[in-house]
Symmetry: C2
Subunit: 365 residues, 2 copies
Amino acid sequence: MKDIVNIYIDRIFKGNCIDEMKKMPSESVDMVFADPPYFMQTDGVLRRTDGTKFSGVEDRWDKFSDFAEYDKFTTEWLSECRRVMKKDASIWVIGSFQNIYRLGYIMQNMGFWILNDVIWSKPNAVPNFGGTRFQNSHETLLWCAKTKDAKYSFNYKTMKYLNNGKQEKSVWNIGICIGHERLKDENGNKVHSTQKPEKLLYKVIMSSTKPGDVILDPFFGTGTTGAMAKATGRHFIGFEMEEKYIKYAQKRIESINPVIDDITNLKLEVKPPKVSMSRLLEFGYLRPGQKLYSKDKSKEVVITASGHVSDGKEELSIHKMSAKMLGLMNHNGWDYFWVENKGEGLMPLNSLRYKYQKERGEGQE
Amino acid sequence: MKDIVNIYIDRIFKGNCIDEMKKMPSESVDMVFADPPYFMQTDGVLRRTDGTKFSGVEDRWDKFSDFAEYDKFTTEWLSECRRVMKKDASIWVIGSFQNIYRLGYIMQNMGFWILNDVIWSKPNAVPNFGGTRFQNSHETLLWCAKTKDAKYSFNYKTMKYLNNGKQEKSVWNIGICIGHERLKDENGNKVHSTQKPEKLLYKVIMSSTKPGDVILDPFFGTGTTGAMAKATGRHFIGFEMEEKYIKYAQKRIESINPVIDDITNLKLEVKPPKVSMSRLLEFGYLRPGQKLYSKDKSKEVVITASGHVSDGKEELSIHKMSAKMLGLMNHNGWDYFWVENKGEGLMPLNSLRYKYQKERGEGQE
DNA sequence: CATTGATATGAATCCTACG
DNA sequence: ACGTAGGATTCATATCAAT
């Protein structure tokens, strides 16, 4: 990030994203969010049953003559995205049935590894006026790592917390962008035909980036990605061809007040200090021969000099021993065992790791 | 259908579906439902958090060496499906993120026209045990016409009725197949690793077929498609490689009792008789100079000899005239205008079409 | 019999740091 | 690169046993 921070960070650049990305250094961004043209093959005008015109996607940037041209365009911008992505960066791409199968196929062929396809289910989608099909009430997001073996960021606990304590699913129920959030021009018309809801981008960013990360959006539009990046303490880089969109995006992002709190700072993702049993023995937090207990004190084991524990029959790691006592194949011994606290009752074994870290300032990953 | 009825209808054939389909005549089926191998690229064992093993898809029929081999297989079976489809037939294909982008891309290239991509959202999907991604809680169905201009079947009103009076969406909430519905072998183990829920197939069939239609399922498995086809008064043709699956499917389908009622017979889809204004004039159900009224009688028009109506300023069709009176661009005049009923008050203009049909036995499409 | 609680299981691309 | 050990991680529902 340091290489590009002064030149690129938190700015919107006017121009074709393929040309603009070519000027960027390789492996420089942490995440990409891309909302490319959808290739809607609507010829003529779509009208509601009362005859009023439905103002859908008919802008000139959404016209492609055939699949070959669209595939070529897709391959070009995705190749540049792939190049500027750090090796552990991930990429989100949003589309609808008209284009998402082109995107997914091409991305798989390029070596991107699909982590999830996420369904944005819209409770207030535009109805099917003709009664000719099912109401198209969703869009699809592809979330991919750069390669199969990459160590992408995923803030599992934060997502779980934001989903009322249950792990987040691949189907997200979020309303389309309307009301105050929808940008309108001086005539009251919508500025952009496909402005995405902020809730969607908030979830995308909070699930797959860390504070300070750089997020690239090659089809910036009116800047929902930039707005949410700023709001959550992340950085953005935007490319956009239309001057009009850039102006609205800049004004919009300026007005954003970041909310930097424990959630956006990923405090929920913090893991226990990595302090081993042998280290606790070495520095006198435990001693060989000392006993560890189950919480109700119904079971006890003896610590050995090597940092394992013995139940009188076997000498095992605290994890294997707790699993054995619970009849499981795996268990976390740090959470199972308790230790005598100077005659004041039992304290969790795991608390010794926090004590060690606090007193010696080591052990945090 | 007549060509193949005696040989193929309501039977399961053992063998590779590509070879078997090649023996079939062209343009002979009304709908295809295909649940091909997903090419899940998994290795090793996946354990639940309690250490027990998760038994997913480990079948040999899901093994492919790479995308190229999978794409070739996909192209071959889809080509044969396309050939045996009648020109107004439609095709459903189900998959997950591992394969659906291969399927969609290839189908679009072959000329299939995507009508909807339907999301099967599973409230009781397998969780993500490792906390590494979003829980994969959906699968995707592609519903396509053979060509862009084909006149496919879609039972809009039936779907709306089954969805509590609201138009059906592209996101369906249906539980995975468990409990009594899940076929078990003599040892209590699931017969097929990916048996689909009957509710899903019911909805697929009821939305896109007519009574008596022939449905082809090239990956028949344990026959959910056949069971629901029989249950709704449709016919099936199945191909399946595994003898074991065929035996369970045959037994299962035998036990099905068809429920042939107004819903399965699509009585909700019946349209008003196609009888024109000029025909009503010709046979004396209306006469030139007679008046038509709005329901509250606040407006009136006069019928002309040509079957149009005049408001004293313009002579227009009943549809254009009703639209004009309502300030709309389009409206259905048959539902807007009322006609004097021999001094007994007003009756709907449209009711004359039913009267004509009843008395003369014409007009039904 | 009704209710409660324990157990089983389903199309899954399911870890990571260290030596 | 590869093996090994440490240690982090699950939701809805059906079935069946226990009260």
